[in-house]
């Protein structure tokens, strides 16, 4: 990978070799892309890290049936606090879904994308899925449509997908080896039979790969999702990444396994652990040599609404939607205006970053090796630091090094513990939040209270409220520069490992 260094004599670097978001890292995919693809992803929050600060998406739960079983999924549970794929609060008919989309798009001008992702498999419910798409193409032509599938019926449905003007398809591919597949998929329903074990896994894998090839041949952008399951497919996913790239997938999203006994999934009940933050990042970095990696996925519910990381589904339940009076024409105009402005902001951030990015030459005169540092950021969107520490439901994590600032991922603050001061094992919410920031050495937010300030410092995490409303990467780079000049980066970081939880 070529590292871009700003402020050195090599002129071209300052001209735009460094995009605002994730300069030099894998998330600057946009700057390397042909214009035609850039157009397709620049306002899609799930396909572009930059876009996810500015644009919103929603899923409509019209597809209940599924044709396979995955060991990380259980269709029995539906808890409002549970945020994971496969979970929904209310199932919608296509007509209801269309109403809901129109209502959300009228109230959230950031909305650019409608996806169907379940709660089962969209392509195992072709009539409901395609009827929803058909109506939306007519009524909200500015909304991008996309679909997320396990791939089993994909080859049969590719032509139908093309008819509906769908630009983006996500396939969940956890393996290319049936031996491993048998440990992830206990059965599939295929040609009117339930097929178990390796035989079923092989059929599924073959269909996924065939579907991927058919889509890329037709010019549809394909993102591949993989669930990282330690001890099952973690070592195998590098190979998966290589193969799907070869076949034309555009982006690879390696997500951590969510497994809790209370979800009733095979992995949850059997005590299969999820990966730690470090393990996930290490695998993403390994795959990044071959592939564009997505690191901003929030593993949202099949009925999620809003910006990634937020869920405004409660504001748009069907009973509320039925009572909304909406001027659809005006809403579409407002959306267009908002979105044009957001794209302009993005473009400006991209252009400016070359100049305002902290110059390497300002980071210490002696060219000593400085170690990279992880920092957490509280933001509500817009690509700037604009959230109070205590209000953050999640933190974005960036890695700053002597050469660049790159986006690494996000850490959720435990939603189960919103109610009281203590929860479960007697750990306070604040302590829990601090624990989720494990490995980070600074946290950047717009404001922070006295108590968390003290506790963060005790935990070895420097609180910082000095960069409110500044663009994230620039602020992270500035804080890193201070750390370097104060000699902090000469010392080894404190470390511990925490498993990622749901």
């Amino acid at each position: 990978m070529e590292l871009t260094v700003i402020g050195q004599d090599a002129g071209p670097a300052a001209e735009g070799g460094c995009s605002s978001s994730g300069c030099g890292g894998t998330s600057d995919q946009l700057s390397h892309l042909p214009e035609s693809i850039r157009q397709k992803v620049q306002d899609h929050p799930c396909y572009s890290e930059d876009a996810h600060h500015h644009f919103a998406r929603m899923h409509v739960a019209v597809a209940p049936a599924c044709n396979i079983q995955c060991h990380y999924c259980n269709r029995k549970y539906d808890c409002a606090n549970e945020s994971r794929p496969g979970v929904v609060s209310e199932l919608l008919t296509p007509d209801q879904a269309v109403k809901k989309v129109m209502a959300v798009a009228a109230n959230i001008p950031q909305m650019t994308v409608l996806g169907i992702a379940g709660p089962g498999d969209p392509l195992a419910n072709p009539e409901r899925t395609f009827e929803t798409f058909r109506q939306l193409t007519e009524k909200a032509p500015d909304i991008k449509l996309c679909v997320s599938t396990n791939g089993l019926s994909l080859p049969q449905q590719v032509d139908e997908l093309c008819k509906h003007n769908i630009d983006h398809v996500t396939i969940t591919i956890n393996c290319v080896d049936p031996e491993i597949g048998a440990k992830i998929y206990p059965w599939i329903f295929w040609n009117n039979r339930r097929i178990k074990g390796k035989k079923g896994a092989k059929i599924l894998i073959d269909q996924q790969q065939k579907g991927l090839e058919m889509l890329t041949e037709r010019g549809i952008l394909v993102k591949v999702n993989s669930v990282m399951i330690p001890g099952v497919n973690d070592e195998h996913l590098e190979e998966v990444s290589r193969i799907v790239k070869q076949k034309g997938a555009f982006l690879h999203n390696v997500m951590p396994l969510i497994a809790e006994a209370e979800h009733g999934t095979f992995y949850g009940v059997m005590g299969q652990r999820g990966p730690t933050h470090d393990e996930l990042q290490a695998l993403q970095d390994k795959c990044a040599g071959d592939m564009n990696m997505m690191r901003h996925c929030r593993q949202c519910r099949a009925d999620a609404v809003g910006m990634l990381g937020e869920d405004r589904g409660d504001e748009f339940t069907m009973d509320k939607v039925e009572n909304m009076h909406i001027d659809y024409e005006a809403a579409m105009e407002e959306r267009a205006e908002y979105q044009a402005a957001a794209l302009a902001t993005l473009e400006a951030q991209r252009q400016n970053s070359g100049e305002s990015f902290v110059a390497l030459s300002s980071i210490g005169k002696a060219r000593r090796e400085t170690r990279p540092v992880l920092m957490a950021v509280a933001t509500t969107g817009g690509g700037v630091i604009n959230q109070h520490f205590g209000h953050a439901k999640e933190f974005l994590v960036y890695e700053a090094s002597a050469t660049d600032v790159r986006f690494i991922g996000h850490r959720k603050v435990d939603l189960y513990c919103e109610g009281g001061d203590t929860c479960g094992d007697g750990e306070s919410v604040l302590q829990k939040t601090i624990r989720t920031l494990d490995g980070c050495e600074a946290v950047l937010c717009s404001k922070i209270g006295y108590e968390p300030w003290e506790q963060l410092e005790q935990a070895g995490i420097a609180p910082n409220g000095e960069h409110a409303m500044e663009p994230i990467e620039e602020a992270v780079a500035a804080v890193y520069a201070e750390m370097v000049s104060s000699g902090l980066t000469d010392q080894a970081p404190h470390s511990a490992t925490v498993q990622i939880s749901a």
Binding site: P64, R75, E127, F189, R193
Partner: protein, 92 residues
């Protein structure tokens, strides 16, 4: 003789479109099989379709009242382990 859906059904819709006899209806609290229409897929398929796609163990009974998919047969979770996990959760 007919298959039957019982209360553990989660209304996931998987069975309804695969029934060759249109014997399955969306109902609450759970989907139902019309015993007069159900043919057990005889003459259409080797395996009963609803019982072959249903993801929930115990939700479908065969014509003899026996669970078509007994505990552990679909998820692979041994019933003893499931019982243990439930007990652990309740103790919390």
């Amino acid at each position: 003789m007919a298959y039957a859906i019982v209360e553990s059904c989660v209304n996931c819709w998987a069975c309804e479109p695969v029934c060759p006899s249109n014997a399955i209806a969306d109902a609450r609290p759970h989907f139902v099989i019309d015993a007069n229409k159900c043919t057990e897929c005889d003459g259409d398929y080797a395996d009963p379709q609803c019982a072959s796609i249903c993801p929930i163990e115990g939700a479908i009974l065969d014509p003899f009242g026996v669970q078509a998919n007994p505990p552990g047969s679909l998820t692979g979770i041994p019933p003893e382990r499931m019982a243990e996990a439930m007990a652990e959760m309740q103790a919390r």
